[in-house]
């Protein structure tokens, strides 16, 4: 799969995450989180795992996290990718 247009999923509400994706030549992941001190590694792992499963190798991914659970991060990621991606 490939990111072909800008797309977003999620909100900035507490316990949610806003994922934005846009096309890019390389893979860039930006994460801001209110629980960075406790869960930064886990958040990055979840995002990278969803990207790997969708075989996405390029694109700019930004996550503004307000304390979303792992399953929420994965769901928002999958939705953002489906909205901005196309099967290549």
């Amino acid at each position: 799969m490939e990111i072909v247009k800008n797309a977003a999923a999620g909100t900035l509400e507490s316990s949610d995450v806003l994922i934005c994706v846009e096309p890019a030549d390389t893979l860039q992941i930006e994460i801001q989180s209110v629980v960075a001190g406790q869960y930064m590694d886990a958040i990055r792992d979840a995002i990278e795992d969803v990207l790997a499963k969708a075989q996405i190798k390029t694109g700019k991914i930004s996550a503004q996290d307000r304390g979303a659970l792992d399953c929420v991060i994965r769901a928002r990621m999958e939705t953002a990718i489906l909205r901005g991606g196309s099967q290549s």
């Binding site: 507490s14 629980v35 406790q38 659970l69 792992d70």
Partner: protein, 467 residues
């Protein structure tokens, strides 16, 4: 004779305030308070330096104090509570000397027995006469009870009353009498009425909050304390007030008549008294307009000082007669210690208020909190700041289960017999971590930025700078 002077500056001159002195403020005007900022701005303008500020609470409205700290106008701070804005700056190390945190009872006790000395108290008074008789019940900036200001008035060497509603002598129904007052100043406004009180305090509609409140009310029911003469304290926030609703339903069903409710008073507690579920309200602070109207008009609604409320230095205080208190927490550890001073990252954003006083005094101290807040588990191995010692906490109620302090085996058995979801506190911690993941431990390793005193004045914990 009149004690009236023309301006805050004249008042500061009249009481002889000099560098290095301690000044005090009360927090009944909460986030609508103009007085602390007004006085500090005047003092800074007069070139005074090195002042120690003892304020019963600092709210976000008091953000200008950060500049006064940076400019060394203020070099010491003693509080019972500190909101997140000033708290963050303190956590980042702007004040050289550690902040002293006390509880509401501890502050009154330390002032009354002379352990916390005040040179000049500046008392925001919603209503006063020119000799300094004052009340919080009347005027455009009415706040109701003046409970926390009593010790300031009685213990400070000099007392300045600042009012925006000057009435002819003698003020009717005065709370704090003229005998303590040196100087009176009239100003345009002492506060923003819309921020002093909330219009109405509403019960949460959040299903998680309601579930927690319901379980807490079941703990009250099966604790054996819910009977005639029952006394009760709960906060105004989230799930706390919903507990009152469920308790009221049980009192109605079983025809129970309580004795008193206490603490920060809301319209909901007022309505419970008016319906006859409680004889009286002991009010150290009003939270909404209904509470202010009630303390003014209903003789069963009594104003009490912080000393009467919770001072451990007094021969007795009202928390000693309290049956049940409902408390909050940002963190709880597996020894039942509670943190209400810092957030989960170690930044100051609160304080004990009456937390540790009521936990110690009440026969049953219940902490209500969601098991997980924005991914962060409530229960940790060790709290970042010990605000209230675990041995004074009886029960932790979350939406997923109830943990009973092992010291209270009888209560645990009663709750199990009532088929309530009783769990070991470590089991609750594990459940949260299964959902949220195990959080990486946060450490604060910088110098000490605050000393947290227990209500008897002994050092309980320290808060360190965010490195």
């Amino acid at each position: 004779m009149s004690k009236l002077v023309g301006s805050v500056r004249e008042a500061v001159q009249a009481v002889g305030l000099t560098d290095g002195m301690t000044i005090s403020f009360h927090h009944h005007l909460r986030n609508g308070d103009y007085v602390l900022n007004m006085v500090l701005a005047e003092i800074a303008g007069m070139g005074l330096k090195d002042l120690n500020v003892n304020a019963s609470s600092i709210f976000d409205v008091h953000e200008p104090i950060i500049e006064h700290i940076k400019k060394k106008v203020v070099t010491g701070l003693e509080v019972n509570y500190m909101g997140g804005k000033v708290g963050r700056a303190i956590s980042e190390g702007i004040l050289e000397k550690p902040v002293i945190f006390r509880s509401h009872g501890g502050r009154a006790g330390d002032m009354d027995r002379g352990a916390a000395k005040v040179d000049v108290a500046f008392i925001a008074a919603p209503c006063a006469d020119d000799m300094g008789n004052m009340s919080g019940k009347y005027g455009p900036s009415a706040c109701g009870s003046l409970g926390y200001a009593f010790s300031d008035a009685m213990c400070a060497k000099k007392v300045v009353v600042i009012t925006d509603h000057l009435v002819p002598y003698p003020l009717l129904d005065c709370s704090i009498p003229e005998g303590y007052v040196d100087v009176v100043v009239q100003v345009d406004k002492i506060g923003d009425a819309s921020r002093i009180v909330s219009g109405t305090t509403k019960i949460t509609r959040d299903p998680v909050g309601l579930r927690i409140a319901y379980l807490a009310s079941q703990v009250v029911k099966h604790s054996g304390y819910l009977k005639d003469g029952f006394s009760f304290q709960t906060g105004a926030g989230g799930a706390s007030l919903a507990v009152a609703k469920y308790v009221e339903e049980m009192m109605e069903k079983e025809g129970i008549k309580g004795s008193f409710c206490m603490g920060g008073i809301t319209g909901y507690l007022v309505s419970m008294m008016e319906k006859g579920y409680f004889e009286t309200i002991l009010d150290v602070q009003c939270f909404d307009l209904a509470a202010i109207a009630s303390i003014r008009d209903n003789k069963n609604h009594q104003e009490i000082s912080a000393t009467r409320y919770a001072s451990p230095a007094a021969k007795s205080c009202a928390v000693d007669s309290l049956d049940v208190v409902i408390l909050g927490a940002t963190q709880v550890d597996t020894d039942f210690n509670v943190n209400v001073h810092t957030d989960s990252n170690g930044y100051i954003m609160g304080g004990s208020g009456g937390h540790c006083d009521t936990a110690k005094g009440a026969k049953l101290a219940i902490v209500v909190a969601p098991l997980i807040r924005a991914r962060l588990p409530l229960i940790v191995d060790q709290v970042l700041c010990k605000s209230t010692p675990g041995e004074t906490i009886d029960v932790i109620v979350t939406q997923r289960g109830i943990a009973v302090n092992p010291k209270n085996q009888k209560l645990k058995e009663a709750l199990i017999a009532a088929h309530l979801p009783v769990k070991d506190i470590r089991e609750l911690k594990r459940m949260a971590e299964e959902i949220a993941g195990v959080p990486k431990a946060v450490t604060c390793t910088g110098r000490v930025v605050a000393n947290v005193l227990y209500r008897d004045g002994t050092l309980m914990d320290t808060i360190r700078k965010k490195a």
